[in-house]
Amino acid sequence: MTQIHSDKHESLTDYFDSLMQEFDANPSPELQHPISLSRRGFMKLAGITGGGLVLGFSIDTPKALANVSAEHAQFNAYVQVKPDGSIIIQAKNPEIGQGVKTALPMIVAEELDAAWEEVEVVQSPIDESIYGRQVAGGSRSIPANWVILREAGATVRAMLVSAAAARFNVPVAELRTESSRVIHGASGRSIHYGELAEEAAKLDTPSSVELKARSQYRLLGKRITGVDNLDLVTGKPLFGIDQQFDNMSYAVYQKCPAVGGKVISANLDHIKSLKGVKDAFILEGNGRTDELMPGVAIVADSTWAAIKAKRALKIEWDESDASKDSWSAFTQQAKQIAEQAPERPLSRSGNLDAAMSTEGNKSIEAFYSHDFVLHAPLEPQNTTALSKADGSIEIWAPTQTPGRALNGVANTLGITQDQITLHQIRAGGGFGRRLTNDPVCEAAAIARRVDGPVKLQWTREDDTQHDFNRVGGFHVMKGAVNKDGKMVAYSDHLISFTENGRSPVSGGNLRMTGYPEDACSNVLMGETLLPLKITCGAFRAPASNTIAWAQQSFIAELAHAAERDQCEFLLETLAALPEPRGEMLMNKYRAIETVKLAAEKAGWGRELPNGRGLGIAFYYSHFGHVAQVAEVSVDANRKVTIHNVTVSADVGPIINRSTSENLLEGAVVDGISTMMGLTVDFENGRIQQENFHQYPILRMPKTPKIAVHFIESNYHPTGLGEPGLPPLAPAVGNAIFAASGIRPRTMPLSKEGFTI
């Protein structure tokens, strides 16, 4: 784990840059560099045999698995067997709705041949020295843990088989396993894992083990219901907000609505006189937006008393250094900058201007924009903390980055990480919001002033006004097709924002995957950055989610200019890409198959009534190749009806079919929300929206029918939290154009008079 908080003056951009580098790094180095298997001392390379991958390793066990009884046979950090024979599998990463608490243990159980109904999944402790990276982000949980978790299960299975061989006095080769039993077919004997566990756990971890072939899978690829579902539907405490302790206090925290404002004074005496209020005080903060900014804390004996007191709070702010950002001013500025060349050229080939003006070529230009949006996870930010007399602190936090939370709290309180006990708690949605741990740091700082445990509770208004927003921006698009209808020029000039004056804010960069710039001979890609103080962060498929909108809409504009079918033109531009350079990179063959599958399943090319149209879009992000086709009607008043969306994806083998489909269905809903009506406006540094009545997240009646199809290729399996989102907006935009002849270029489309 990189220590990213050693420099107190590090900017928010630096925080996200290092996080994004982690996300972008190849999660499976063994694919291309087998020798690097010795990472973290977890394994040593033993050799590759003809029959399959054979690996040697030693898996350490955590110093203390708090949730594991001493009576349990402990095989490694992931697997323990209880005396009754049921199997505990540790889920290592935060659960934020992406289903890893079920999917990661499924991988272990598959290789272990465990009976899934006898498996008990528990959330593992935070210990990155044992578990490696424990983060929910970048759609990385599946690709980064695929090999490790299979080995964790296969090792234990091998040890159980060895124990059975000794018990039965037969060769290992005569034994097979199924449903938590070792079976000796010749004699008809079988024995449950539970009866072998104690002796098996005493055996040495085998020096090599063979992993199953895909054809042998019994569990992976099935629909498995979430391990927390029974608790969820019966209202059991599961989330950060559900943490309760005796003598607990309840806190709220008010920061300046314009980021960077400091507290001059507040009516603390009045607040402290209110019913139920125990204390109220000012925190100076450490100046870091991702840790602790200045504000006023109120501690009360109930959440309601704290919320009521917050409404009575009067604070005088020093806003001399605070944000004065204005979205309307940025929009005006961007329109002027659109006439100029990008300040930061990123990729250039051929001669764009010449290709645009060549006689016989048809050249087009277009200005796309997208507003800022919120993450708006449904569980408002919260953290519970207990400060102890010895200076240590215990924290219960729904965070996507527990390791970074430790850094942040240590930095905020001026303590060392070993003085912090952090429990990872299921989060009511993440979408990137909980990659930053500002509420965790605030709760820790407040807890220092409170006797006993205290739960910091943000209101929805706090969540809306103090998010790390999906940054807005403007794409100035140029392109040309020649007489034969081929793409001969492509340019994307992204007008975006910078917080540190050097590099784009998180998600505000012109991320390039190779497409379409490598499929075209005259290209200019570049950025111009405007200074910004409003805090921005990673939002589901950062950068990709807005680049896809401009890119895939504009590719469709070029197809129209060439008077060609949009899907055929898209496939032609994909086919023009160079050969794939590595497994974990965009691959034109996978892209083409994905587009073809979506088109076929959606009935591309069929006759539609007037006012109805199909649109297609493809995007590669987070190792996932995803295409979507939307079928849309548009009436004379620009009222849009999205009838159905067809999704196709190639993310390799599917782990949990149920979760995988669910995530893509959810990405479609998320995509429709953000493209049709969601916006965060700001003037004088202040977010104008406060609550959901001003932030129309899609509701059930407007949800289209969604069909999901997987290619299920043999490539390394990858994640699905993010790559489903980017193609939705351009697919719908292209369908709106097909239905109405109107090309939407402003997200949300409500700003162009469209409704849903």
Binding site: Q98, T303, G429, L663, N691
Partner: protein, 159 residues
């Protein structure tokens, strides 16, 4: 400050020394440790806090405890009959509806109120009854499916 005797999930429960304007949501969560009912917005926009008052779905974040009087309150914790899950709860598990799961208690309570009045709802009936419940993860398609499934299974059981 006031004391109340509340009829919640068939039990008579005392709460003491609470502000009369305290929303039922916070009485359930902070005073009675029934945390299945969720806080999402505080202004009756998201439906995460949906409970039944005399069988009708209400947003408990905007329903003061002083207004409950003798009414019977049902929360997600009281929906199952002992260990027998409500048909909706079982359908939610069978169809693996949740992603993050935070909104789902409210979704189920809204759906339960719908099925009580309309045992075999159409898609449109479901859309209308569920329009007040946000799911930020976007599980609406599965929610529809699970409601239909629960309605069919209940009809078979009683029919």
């Amino acid at each position: 400050m006031a004391n109340y005797t509340l009829n919640i999930n068939g039990q008579s429960l005392e709460v003491t020394d609470v502000d009369p304007d305290t929303p039922l949501l916070w009485v359930l969560r902070d005073e009675l440790s029934m945390v299945g009912t969720k806080f999402g917005c505080g202004v009756a926009q998201c439906g995460a806090c949906t409970v039944h008052v005399d069988g009708n779905p209400v947003r408990s974040c905007s329903y003061p405890v002083s207004a409950i009087a003798e009414s019977a309150v049902t929360t997600i914790e009281g929906l199952a009959q002992g260990s027998q899950l409500h048909a909706l709860q079982q359908a939610w598990i069978d169809h693996d509806v949740p992603q993050c799961g935070y909104c789902q208690a409210g979704q189920i309570m809204s759906a339960a109120a719908l099925l009580r009045n309309n045992p075999s709802p159409s898609d449109q009936d479901i859309d209308e009854a569920m329009a007040g419940n946000l799911c930020r993860c976007g599980t609406y398609q599965r929610i529809r499916l699970a409601i239909h499934d629960a309605a069919e299974k209940s009809a078979r059981r009683t029919g």
